[in-house]
């Protein structure tokens, strides 16, 4: 009989029961946060049982998105099968977005697009070419959102129903209701639980309202602890089936990935 998932976290036991796909993490340093060496980051993945991590570079977030995207490609090359890439683009530099998308997606390790909440709103025309690219290539888009302010991301999702939009930091600032409302309204709007804090009963509230088929999980490492973020879900008072979906199955579907192929050593559910 398999162990209840909460026991893995209680005991610090590597999650070996099913594949885990981290849909929101980073590589490189950030202001105030010195990143672990990539080797140590992979060791933490091994210790916790996180198989694959979809990453963008914080260097790209800081503005140098071409060099940041190159770091992502390099991480994926150094650790085959452990990293998927988000190509990060910014509408602050609108003329560079499409060429950068075309450059990155020539490399198959890139599987999604990342945008950040600076500059123009997500529903401004500058982003139209990005959403069109995502639609044409069947790519999910992950966006930083904060405190229930979608800054146009929900409107972009509404205008582009064929594209899957992942709203990062759902519930941040303890503002869970706007995220729930947007997800209930828009079937292509996914909630990403990545968030430094662990507000009591918030994961349970979001799962109860939205359902695990519209929720993904990310660690945001190396900005903060992978184990802490994983533990939030493993300890949540939701079913183990919901935990499996949130920790991998839903993201795999969004990315169009075969979970069994990602972690063949684990007993993936069909």
């Amino acid at each position: 009989m398999s162990l209840p998932l909460i026991e893995y976290a209680r005991q610090g036991k590597t999650v070996d029961a099913f594949p885990i796909l981290d849909a929101h993490a980073h590589i490189y340093h950030m202001a105030g946060c010195d990143a672990l060496p990539l080797e140590d980051q992979v060791r933490e993945m091994d210790r916790t049982g996180i198989d694959v991590v979809a990453v963008s570079s914080t260097l790209a977030l800081a503005a140098d998105f071409s060099r940041g995207n190159d770091l992502v490609a390099d991480a994926a090359r150094r650790f085959p099968g452990r990293f998927l890439g988000y190509c990060h683009v910014s509408a602050v530099y609108p003329d560079r977005m499409l060429p950068e998308l075309e450059r990155c997606f020539a490399n198959p390790i890139f599987r999604g697009i990342k945008v950040y909440q600076v500059g123009p709103m997500y529903d401004c025309p500058a982003y139209d070419s990005v959403w069109a690219f995502a639609k044409a290539h069947r790519l999910p888009v992950l966006a930083h959102t904060w405190g229930g302010n979608m800054t146009g991301f929900d409107k972009a999702a509404e205008k582009n129903p064929e594209v899957n939009f992942l709203a990062a930091h759902a519930g941040s600032g303890f503002a869970y209701q706007p995220y729930i409302d947007a997800a209930k309204r828009l079937p292509n709007f996914y909630l990403d639980l990545t968030y430094s804090r662990e507000h009591t009963n918030m994961i349970e509230t979001i799962v109860d309202a939205v359902g695990p088929d519209q929720i993904v999980w990310g660690s945001d490492t190396p900005i903060f602890s992978m184990a802490h973020q994983l533990g939030k879900v493993l300890f949540a008072r939701i079913s183990d089936e919901a935990k499996r979906k949130i920790l991998g199955e839903t993201a795999a579907r969004v990315f169009g990935l075969d979970l069994k192929a990602l972690a063949p050593h684990k007993g993936a559910k069909a």
Partner: protein, 253 residues
Amino acid sequence: MEILDCFCGVGDWATKDPILPSRTDEIVRLMDHCGVAKALVYHNAMKFCGWAPDANRQIVEICQKNPRFIPAFVMGLHPHDGETTLGDYLAALKASKGKAIWLRLPATPYRQARSYASWLIGDWLRACSEKRIPVFFHAEDDDPTLFHTLCSEFPELRLILTGVQYAGDSYLYPLLKQHRQLRVCLGHMYIPSGCPGRFLKHFKADRLLFGSGLPEFSPGGMIAHVQYADIPDADKARILGGNLQELMQEVRL
């Protein structure tokens, strides 16, 4: 290993979000779910204009009814004749088997003191130093210079910072290196990547304490943060409960 939570509030408060727990049975259920044996608790009323002597009386009553709670008092300054004195606070703390004092609570617009300088609260800090009473301070928005000053002026003060952020290492490490009695609580949210393993390359495990931040924050993620760390089991046990146990045993009231 016995998990002890050093950072927990119980009881009702005015600004509570509807999904948060406040009642003792709700908190105990969460502790059971996460495997937390006991918690050092303050009263939540102090988060929104509560009056310290009343909040402390309430927390004593709650702890008397529930042996899994250990009282932590909140500091109050009362300049008027006939009001509660520092001596009264310490006597009440001793009578209730209380084990800590909060100088500043989290999630509150109200400060327990208008200033934390020694001219104002020096007698409190001297008493806590002499009696080895752990003193908690929610650091979230404060200038680290305040903690440096407190620790410099009261080097034996067992000051425990809560609310240190994941990006706090740049000031936390220099503070910890200079002040041997300064400690840091994991809650909520001292969760930098690689911690606590990375932390223990610089400091001993006795400087880190597990604390959840209940009722605003659940304990689970923080427990996983320690349990998955690449550190010896003995250090995990210290962080998750041993350090708090030791600090409480050393109180000399």
